[in-house]
Amino acid sequence: MNRVLRLAEIAGDTEAVDMPAGAPPQINPEHLRMVEALLFAASEPLSAESLSGSLPEGADIAALLSELQQLYEGRGVSLSQVAGKWQFRTAPDLAFLLRKEKPEQRRLSRAAIETLAIVAYHQPVTRAEIEDIRGVALSKGTIDVLMEVGWVKIRGRKRTPGRPVTYGTTEAFLLQFGLESVSHLPGMDELRAAGFLEAVPPSGFDIPSPSDELAPDEDPYEPGDDLTDEAPDPIS
């Protein structure tokens, strides 16, 4: 009931409806309109901070966002949290309506899709580690394709002999797949618990979790570095 009243208040005139006593955090309807307009107008997701910057001092941005999210629940457009930011997107179940003559996106090969998943779940990960998981050499173009699409980036270098570069996913990846962060990847917890995110079979080692933070044995990537992205080949 409370909910409906607040909806009415937002939709119509403010005076007419009394806020029920004991209503949860006071939502300023003007602020709500502003957040709505800002998110609606933007072509990119907006962070809570950047929204704050456009709102009057003291606006409770977290409460406003959660109110707005509720307001749009079940509607044709919904407020989603992606890459730690906020964006209005059409409801997924209406895909049939909107998926029209959209130019077919470049089809990724099976190898590229697997590699993308391995980079996403295992990041930071080196080329050698990807090859170890797949049990096959990565063909030259696979990572290039993923970098070209903008989903994978070089994030650092591993502090091991040869200092191989490490790969990770980008913000564009999170936006594309509608993920709040890499720790929200589907099935992440199960994979971690089963030890499949490790380089060796689990035997009581610490279990790493993918993160955008530099790993303890990772250095930030400096573009000035030479571009060899592999450890010296032990064979050749």
């Binding site: 107008a41 072509s43 899709i113 049990g135 797949f177 993920l179 099935g187 499949f196 079979p201 080949d233």
Partner: protein, 270 residues
């Protein structure tokens, strides 16, 4: 432990030799591990409980049948076959007591099992990922965003001081400019005259008059005076350098120039 790593690492290093950057797929398989995984699925049991011995047999059989069909297998498939044959033989023999860190056959088998499970887990993860609603495919952002317009708020820092000093200076300059402005006489620089003469060397006739060497458009008025002076000085410099000879019969008379490198007298230098 570390030796087990090394041991296994050696096999893997061969499996992923970078120079085999293009992978020959065998009946659509992406490498030996992929093939093993497909064979393991045929056993229709949980991968964690898969019989490595049976898997090795299936794999070796597959390689054998490929050979019978004259299919050329990529080297990494053969390396895997050799390794599985080795593992199989060790699994069949009675287990020797573990040598100082050397992985046992059972450990090697367990590790292979784990790698198959991990590959399958990543495959499933990839499938789940690709099944997500994707931006621009299933879900859409605002089709006609209203971008933020940046309005430049210009403020000018010009002051009354700038205004008055610009005005005063400009007016003064103009008034003075009207009263005395030194006329600019045309000047042919000595360097220019010399450069010109040097270009003419070899084409100057014997004892040409200096006046005949002046540039055509400098042959009258103030320009002629400047050109004459510069050309004379340039001639003196060239004469000093021994490249021409100069002669004047008497003061204020015509000056004559002879080209020492001229075609008429090539070996005069002596």
């Amino acid at each position: 432990m570390s030796e087990m790593e090394d041991n296994f690492g050696a096999v893997e290093a061969v499996l992923v030799r970078p120079e085999e950057a293009f992978v020959v797929t065998v009946d659509g398989f992406e490498g030996p591990l992929d093939l093993l995984l497909a064979l393991a699925r045929d056993q229709k049991v949980d991968l964690a409980k898969i019989s490595i011995l049976r898997l090795a047999d299936q794999y070796l059989e597959f390689v054998e049948s490929a050979r019978r069909r004259n299919l050329e297998l990529a080297a990494d498939y053969l390396v895997m076959a050799a390794w599985l044959a080795y593992l199989k033989s060790r699994l069949l023999l009675p287990q020797p007591p573990s040598l100082d860190g050397e992985p046992t056959a059972l450990e090697l088998a367990a590790r292979l099992r784990w790698r198959l499970q991990r590959l399958e887990a990543m495959r499933e993860a990839a499938a789940r990922l690709m099944a997500r609603d994707r931006l621009g495919r299933e879900v859409f952002a605002r089709g006609d965003p209203e971008p933020v317009t940046v309005v430049k708020l210009r403020t000018h820092t010009d002051t009354i001081y700038d205004l008055l000093s610009a005005y005063s200076a400009q007016r003064l300059k103009r008034v003075r400019g009207n009263t005395y402005r030194p006329p600019h006489a045309p000047v042919l620089l000595i360097e220019e005259a010399r450069a010109r003469l040097e270009r003419m060397l070899g084409r100057i006739g014997n004892w040409s008059g200096l006046v005949s060497l002046l540039p055509a458009d400098w042959s009258y008025g103030a320009k002629r005076r400047s050109a004459l002076a510069s050309t004379l000085l340039a001639c003196l410099e060239l004469a000093r350098d021994g490249r021409i000879e100069i002669r004047q019969l008497k003061a204020f008379d015509e000056v004559y120039v002879k080209d020492r490198a001229g075609p008429a007298a090539p070996e005069v230098a002596a």
